[in-house]
Symmetry: C2
Subunit: 361 residues, 2 copies
C-alpha cells in the first residue's frame, strides 16, 4: 500500500507518501535530491532499527550520518550544533540534502539545521513515530527548545518530501503510539466531527495497531494538516488552530522539564484543558467535555496536568508562548466539537478556574 498526498504550496509544494515498505524505496527519494551529498540525521534508538535500509536505498549517493541522543531534553542548541559539525566535517556544500530519520525531535532539529546550513539546504522527512507521521513532519515548522520555552528558536522550512513508512510503527513503544494519537484526536476536534466519531469507534483497533485503522487515521490527519498548511503556511491565520491544546501542553513540557512528559502526552492533557475552558465559556456542553476526556483517556493519555503545575506556573509559562500578541494571551478553543477558533477574549476568571481544575489522571 502506498498513497500520496500533496501539500499545495506553489514552488514549495511536496508529496507526503504514506504506506508500507517505503523506507527502502529509492524512487521516493531520488526526485527530491539535487546534489550527491546526503546527511542522515537520526538518533540512538532509531539508527539500529532503520538506518541501514535507508542507507541501502540511497546507495547511489555519498551518504553520511549523524546520530544524536534520543529525547526532547536533547532538542537543544548544543545538540543541534552537532549536525553542523558533521556537515562541515564532511565538507558538505549548498546542494546537499538532509534526511530526518526519526520522530518529531529529529525532524524539528534536522529541519532547522537544513533551514540554516549555508542559509538553507534541502531536507526530506522520514518520520518513524506516529506523532511525526501525522503532525510534525508536515508543514515546515522546525526548531529547538530554549530552557524558558518550547520551540522558541526555529524557522519555517518546508521539506522536499515526507516518506511515512507504516512499518516503522511496529517497533514504536506503546507510550509513543498513545502520544501520536493526541495529535490525531486534535484533528477531529478542530476540523472533522465525523473523524472524531470514527476515532471513538476505532480506538481499540488503533491501540492494537490494526494496519488499516492506522493507515486511515494517518491519511486523514495528513489531509487536514496539508489543507490547513496550504491555506496559511506562515500561521497568520487559521494555521493557529493546529495549536489546540498546545499552549497548555508547551507549558507542561517546559514546566516539568523537557522529556519528562512526551509532547503528545502534554497535548492530550492540553486538549482536555482547552475543552474544559470552552465549557466554562458556555461553548461546549458537559457531555462534550466528557467525550473529549474519555477519548483522550482511552488513547492512554493524561487528561489533565500534573499536580505540580499550579495556575501561577501555567500563566508564567504561557505568556512566553508564541501565541501572545500585543501582550494578550491568545488561545485556541472549541465553539463545538469539530470546530475551533482563536480568541484573546477569555476572561481571567474562567482561565484561572480551568488552570486550577486538576482532574485525576
Amino acid at each position: 500500500m502506498n498513497e500520496s498526498l500533496q501539500v499545495e504550496l506553489g514552488a514549495r509544494a511536496y508529496p507526503i507518501h504514506i504506506g508500507t515498505g517505503l523506507l527502502a524505496e529509492t524512487a521516493l527519494y531520488g526526485p527530491h535530491i539535487r546534489g550527491d551529498q546526503l546527511m542522515v540525521v537520526t538518533n540512538e534508538r532509531v539508527a539500529p532499527l532503520y538506518l541501514e535500509p535507508v542507507r541501502q536505498a540511497l546507495a547511489a549517493y555519498r551518504v553520511q550520518q549523524v546520530i544524536l541522543p534520543d529525547g526532547e531534553q536533547f532538542k537543544t542548541l548544543e545538540v543541534w550544533n552537532r549536525i553542523f559539525d558533521a556537515l562541515l566535517d564532511a565538507r558538505f556544500g549548498r546542494d546537499s540534502t538532509l534526511i530526518a530519520l526519526g520522530g518529531g525531535v529529529i525532524g524539528d532539529m534536522a529541519g532547522f539545521a537544513a533551514a540554516c546550513y549555508q542559509r538553507g539546504v534541502d531536507f526530506i522527512q522520514v518520520p518513524t513515530t506516529l506523532l511525526a507521521q501525522v503532525d510534525s513532519s508536515v508543514g515546515g515548522k522546525t526548531g529547538i527548545n530554549h530552557p524558558a520555552g518550547k520551540n522558541m528558536i526555529g524557522a519555517f522550512h518546508q521539506p522536499r518530501a515526507v516518506v511515512a513508512d507504516l512499518d516503522t510503527l511496529d517497533t514504536l513503544p506503546q507510550r509513543e503510539l498513545s502520544a501520536g494519537l493526541a495529535e490525531v484526536i486534535k484533528y477531529g476536534l478542530i476540523r472533522d466531527a465525523g473523524f472524531l466519531a470514527w476515532l471513538e469507534s476505532h480506538m481499540a483497533e488503533l491501540l492494537a495497531r490494526d494496519a488499516d485503522a492506522l493507515a486511515y487515521a494517518i491519511r486523514r490527519s495528513c489531509e487536514i494538516k496539508a489543507e490547513i498548511v496550504a491555506a496559511d503556511e506562515l500561521e497568520s491565520g487559521q494555521r493557529a488552530l493546529l495549536n489546540l491544546g498546545h499552549t497548555f501542553g508547551h507549558a507542561i513540557e517546559t514546566g516539568v522539564g523537557y522529556g519528562a512528559w512526551l509532547h503528545g502526552e502534554a497535548v492530550g492533557a492540553g486538549l482536555c484543558m482547552a475543552a474544559d475552558l470552552s465549557r466554562r465559556l458556555g461553548w461546549l456542553a458537559d457531555a462534550d467535555l466528557e467525550r473529549v476526556r474519555r477519548l483522550v483517556a482511552r488513547a492512554g493519555l493524561p487528561i489533565g496536568p500534573p499536580a505540580e503545575m499550579t495556575a501561577g506556573r501555567f500563566l508564567e509559562l504561557m505568556v512566553v508562548d508564541k501565541k501572545v500578541q500585543k501582550g494578550q494571551l491568545r488561545l485556541v478553543l472549541l465553539p463545538q466539537l469539530g470546530d475551533a477558533l482563536v480568541t484573546d477574549q477569555v476572561d481571567a476568571e474562567s482561565l484561572q478556574a480551568s488552570l486550577c481544575a486538576h482532574v485525576p489522571v
Copy 2:
C-alpha cells in the same frame, strides 16, 4: 542631509535612510515597528557611544537591550544564544522588533536571531561602521560563524528598514574605516568602472572622512547593492557577484582565526587575489591588476594574504565555502574592471599560482 533608497523586494521592500542626525529620528523607526517591545542588540564598544540616543528616540516603546562583546571572534552560537536569553527574560512575543545597533557582526547576529526567534520577528538595521553601512546591513544575509567556516549557519531575513547615520563614522577607528572601503571598492570593480575611477580620485577625501565624499560613496554602494539584491534576493544568480574577493577573504578570516583580520581587510586581500587570478586567465591586463592593488593599498588595506596562508590551507578552507556546487569550486572573477562573472572553469594551475603569489603587504 537625509537621502532614502528603496530595496525593491515586493512585500519585503524596505528603505535605506542615509544621512546625518538619523539615530535620534523617531520618525524613521516608527513605521517599521508593529508591537511595543523593542530589543536593542549592540556591543560593548558601541553602547557607550550610541545606545542612549537610540533609546531616547524610541522612548515611546518598551525598550530592552543586550550588550554583546565586540569582534568577529564573538560571532558564535554561544554569544548568539544570549540574544534569546534576553528576549525570553523580557517575555518578548512574536510582534517584538530587534534593533541591530553596531557593525557587521552585530547586524548579522541580531538579524539571524530575528530570523529564528519564535520562527521570525522583525528587525531594523542601524549600522554604525562604514562596512555595515555600505554592505552587510543591506540585503538580508544574516548568520554566525562555525569554527570550520565563516557564516556557515544563517538565514536570509530582510530588515524592515536600514538607518545609516553618517555621524556614527566620526568615532570609527581608522582601521575600521579602511575595512569598509574594501567593500566600496568591490562595488566599483563588479559593476561601475566610473565609480572605480571616482574612488581613485577621491581616496584621500574618503580617508580624511570628508562628509560629502563619504555620503556619495555610501549612497552609490547602497544603490548597487539594492539593485542586485532586488534582482536576486536568494543568490540563485547575479547576487553571487557581490562575493568578489570573499571566497579568498573568508578562507583568510577562518585561517588566521576570527577577529585577527577584520572582514574588510580579508576582502581587500581577496579582491587583489581575484584580480591576480583574472590576470592569469588573460582577462585583466597587468596594468589593471596594478590599479586594483594600488587602490586597495591606498585605502590602507593588505593587498595579499598573510604568509601563513599556504595554497594548501587556502584550498582546504575554500572547499567548504558556500560557493561550491557539485564539488566544483565557483569563483567570482573579473573579465574587466567594472564587470564580474561567476565561473567554475578555473584551471588548477592558475589557481595554484595565484594562491602561492604572496605579494609583500
